[in-house]
């Protein structure tokens, strides 16, 4: 058990534990805060995987924007500040069985792949992953087209969200 493995196990436990709290807690603001813990755990996971740019972008985009948007939406869609009524559907045990079957199915399908237990190559020191990512995003024979399409998508979502949520008096 190397230090990296122990660190990964702690991070994994934090991610799964807070994800369980997200889907089971009654108070919706608490659910949003547990989601923030999960997202932070995923950012730590990206850092373990040497994807440092993605780790920081995860914190900026998910925690700094999406989670705050969730908290605002929770506060704007209630008549009073307490949650009332049951928060899980009737027959939630059936959904739990479906989730377990999904996990079992994914696990079985993945472990029958022969690359399942491979270990990572060492990360070459001095490798400029951020620079390579930047070049990949804007070079014409790499991924400039999906990048531009994603920005058009964001523009469409921005205009659409403003139009839908606009309060016409």
């Amino acid at each position: 058990m190397t230090a990296m493995q122990i660190f990964f196990l702690i991070t994994g436990l934090v991610i799964l534990g807070s994800a369980l709290m997200v889907v089971t807690t009654r108070n919706l603001i608490h659910a949003a805060l547990w989601l923030i813990v999960t997202l932070f755990g995923v950012a730590v996971l990206y850092a373990i995987l040497n994807a440092s740019f993605l780790a920081v972008v995860q914190v900026v985009v998910y925690i700094g924007a999406i989670a705050i948007l969730f908290i605002f939406a929770v506060m704007l869609t209630r008549k009073e500040m307490r949650d009332r009524g049951p928060q899980l559907n009737k027959g939630w045990w059936l959904n739990a069985i479906i989730a377990l079957l999904t996990f079992g199915g994914l696990f079985w399908m993945l472990q029958s792949w022969n690359g399942f237990s491979k270990t990572a190559a060492d990360f070459p020191s001095g490798y400029d992953a951020v620079g390579q990512l930047g070049r990949a995003l804007i070079s014409p024979d790499a991924f400039v087209l999906p990048f531009e399409v994603a920005s058009v998508l964001l523009l469409a979502a921005l205009v659409g969200a403003v139009y839908i949520a606009f309060n016409r008096k």
Partner: protein, 399 residues
């Protein structure tokens, strides 16, 4: 290796040999040394924060033509200690119906988001916390944790005015992140890397404030908005909503918010110095030793902090809709235009001699500034004619 030229590694090696000599495992010794480094950095910054309270009160007093604290100790230097003792012995009230865990966590997160920033500041060529290659984005990420702590504080206080203050404050914070990121990309382009160490090394010959003064100004304005300081200080609008999101906090919890805000202002003064004013470079003086470089950087950060305080105590507070309109209709387009022009001129002039390069960049910035001022004058002239037209029409209708 020598203490004067490489203090951090010298102390780390000495501690390592000491601990391993006591029979500790290698990895445990390395872990303990790193923890010691973290604790030393945090303690130094918090002690400096105490000094900042005194600086703030003296400077505000001088701006307002009075003396400031001068009773407790020579020049009032022990005033912050009196403040801290008062805050600690105050009664700790938790409002009824507050969410205890979130209520107690918010001031800790607020201060944590500021202390996290000091990990990447290059204090000297060999003294820094960590050489992160995505330093510029890390600043924004740590700022988002601060934004989160504001919502947590306001919601868990069970108070309408705290919520209103927090909503306005968070709207301002997430809006002004965009011009801040755009102008932080300009030193990135000029230096070729997002890491703070690379950016400071790129300013060895000429500071970036000479190459991109408009970007430095825009970054300063966006940073002041990010700090929640006047003229963007809706959370502390004392005449409007008492104290905004930290109404319900008393005693040392309020002290944590207050200390965090002052340290945040000094930290952004430090980042303004690192990104635009050349970091620890000062005409070759920093080669005398790393501790001299630290003093130079702190002096520049103090200058940045003084500029932020100067703006705070001179300019009036803006209204929330003016603030957001200022961001989306003026600052963001200006930031993006400056970014595009700087990238373009950098690519065109990159291989020319350094005098042509500096003159070219400076000229572009001056030209852009002049164009923006002319556009603004055109708008204000149209506005003035419109209101004067209305006024003269009403005057004519009266007669």
């Amino acid at each position: 290796m020598n203490f004067w030229f490489d203090p951090v590694n010298f102390i780390a090696h000495w501690l390592n040999s000491l601990l391993v000599g006591w029979g500790m495992a290698e990895w445990l010794a390395a872990l303990i040394i790193q923890l010691v480094g973290v604790v030393v950095l945090i303690s130094l910054m918090m002690v400096f924060d105490v000094f900042l309270v005194w600086v703030e009160r003296k400077v505000v007093a001088r701006f307002q033509d009075r003396l400031g604290p001068n009773r407790v100790g020579p020049f009032g230097i022990f005033q912050p200690f009196a403040d801290i003792i008062k805050l600690i012995i105050k009664e700790d009230i938790t409002p009824d119906g507050a969410d205890k865990v979130v209520y107690n966590l918010a001031p800790i997160l607020s201060l944590m988001s500021v202390l996290l920033l000091w990990a990447i500041v290059p204090l000297a060529p060999v003294i820094f916390g960590v050489d992160l290659n995505v330093g510029a984005l890390y600043i924004v990420a740590a700022g988002s944790i601060g934004t989160l702590s504001i919502i947590m504080a306001a919601w868990s206080s069970n108070n309408k005015y705290a919520l209103i203050g927090a909503f306005r404050q968070v709207a301002v914070l997430i809006s002004f992140e965009i011009p801040m990121i755009a102008t932080m990309l300009i030193p990135t382009i000029l230096a070729g890397s997002m890491g703070m160490n690379e950016i400071v090394r790129g300013q060895q010959t000429v500071w970036y404030v000479v190459l991109a003064p408009l970007a430095a100004l825009t970054f300063l304005i966006a940073a002041i908005a990010e700090l929640g300081r006047s003229p963007f200080d809706l959370n502390e609008a004392e005449s409007e909503i008492v104290a905004g999101f930290h109404i319900e906090y008393t005693g040392m919890k309020f002290g944590l918010f207050y200390a965090g805000e002052l340290l945040h202002a000094f930290t952004f003064g430090g980042f303004w110095a690192v990104l635009f004013l050349g970091g620890y470079h000062f005409f070759g003086l920093e080669n005398l030793g790393p501790l001299v470089a630290v003093v130079i950087l702190f002096a520049k950060a103090m200058f940045g902090y003084w500029v932020i305080m100067w703006i705070r105590y001179t300019v009036m507070r803006m209204r929330i809709d003016h603030m957001l309109a200022f961001n989306w209709k003026f600052l963001t387009p200006v930031a993006f235009v400056v970014l595009m022009l700087t990238a373009l001129m950098n690519t065109l002039l990159r291989n020319t001699s350094s005098v042509v390069y500096i003159a070219g960049m400076l000229l572009t910035n001056v030209l852009l500034c002049w164009i923006i001022v002319e556009i603004l004058r055109g708008f204000s002239r149209a506005e003035r004619e419109r209101t004067e037209g209305v006024a003269s029409a009403t005057v004519a209708a009266h007669h």
